[in-house]
Amino acid sequence: MTIDACIHPLCEDKEELFDYMPEPWKSRPLSEPGRYFYPAPEGEYNIEEEADAELVASNPSLLCQRVFERNGIDEAILVPLTRGLLPDLDHSMAVCRATNDWLAERWLGTKHNSKSFRGSIRVDPREPDQAVDEIERWASDKRMVQIAVPMQAGKPYGNRDYLRVWEAAAKHSLPVVIHADGGASIDFWPSPAGYYQLFMEYATLYPVNFSYHLASLVAEGVFDRFENFKVIFGDGGHDQLAPIIWRMDKDWRPTRSQMPWNQHLPSEYLDRHVRFISSGYDGPLNKDDWSTWSNISRPERTLMFGSRYPTWEYQGADRAFESADEKLRNTLLHKNASDFYGLA
């Protein structure tokens, strides 16, 4: 059994999303969905065995068939991407609302036998009033299993500006997936030391930026404040969690007096509050190292499979966790997501 926790549905054409927007947004120019910086050298939707991936991912019945029938997936969660940090917050939320309407109408109704897609509610957490309204609007639609926000941010996600949004998420038991979004917007440098030169650097390092959000959520006591608040880091980089969390744990006792509102080591929040989507770019290359590394990095606690179809990062379930034993494979391919999202 396999759950694919990260598939990116695409618009059929540029105009499609505008059909779901009222004025004045309908006639407001909107940036392209792709990354302006660091385009994937061989194309954003270049998958080796699937030359038609871009087409399939923009057609609900084709995608249904590809995912549930050909690839044998049992449950799939769609994470539509928007445009990242648009400078006009109202415009940004209008894009989110349109995306959610488009997803619900075009994608979440399509069935393949009894299987259908689950969805994510996009919001811009920089606009808490509208974000909370949008969460409330969709909260009772059980086809939506999470909230989606960009990895890009103007302040790390533990910051007190976001609390109302996280409170609404926790209230409705909706985890929040944090995933790189858009890429022609008002983002900061992708690294703490400026712009990378190469796509290779971006691909290697950008997912590791989860660290900043995680450190912030821990330091600002968000997990203590909202026991039911959970996040998923959607870009991968799970392997970096271990060395980063060790360092956080080590720095905790010396510095906790600056943040005296909780008494837990950072690592103690992971089981309950933090998950990662897998990436084909993570993992030891040597098969023999896999078991030792799993013993250290404990993927069974926090890792869930996501194919990232139809992007260049795509990894099919058959290739994922190849070196893991059967029990661990099943946990990562199915059980963790099933438990976390409360899927049957």
């Binding site: 006591g221 404040r225 006792r253 010396p254 007096s257 005296p260 008494q263 080591l265």
Partner: protein, 125 residues
Amino acid sequence: MLDAVSQLHDVCAVDELSPGQTKIIEVNGRSIGVFNVKGTFYAMNNLCPHAGAPLCLGRVTGTPVADNPYSVSWDREGEIVRCPWHSWEFDIATGKTLAGPRKSVRTYAVHQENGRLYIDLRGAR
């Protein structure tokens, strides 16, 4: 009278260790710190369980407390010692870290008799 079976070590005259002060003594190859916390005396090994720092040389202070994020107040002034190296906070009375999982340093009972302070080398109370 002091119990003859105990291993009592004479530290100093009571009035040689004022409130807020720490005295370091060497006994049988062990370095031990003796504290006066607002008139009550405590003693612990001068060796941080983390990485071996001379714990009792650290600053004696209080600690910030908060029921909720961002509303911080100051408490327990003079009851906490912060390791001079990595600043771990230890409760002087119990020898335990404030933050969990609790780590602890060995403590010793301190007795007063005839105006003098004695620590009981048998160990933790």
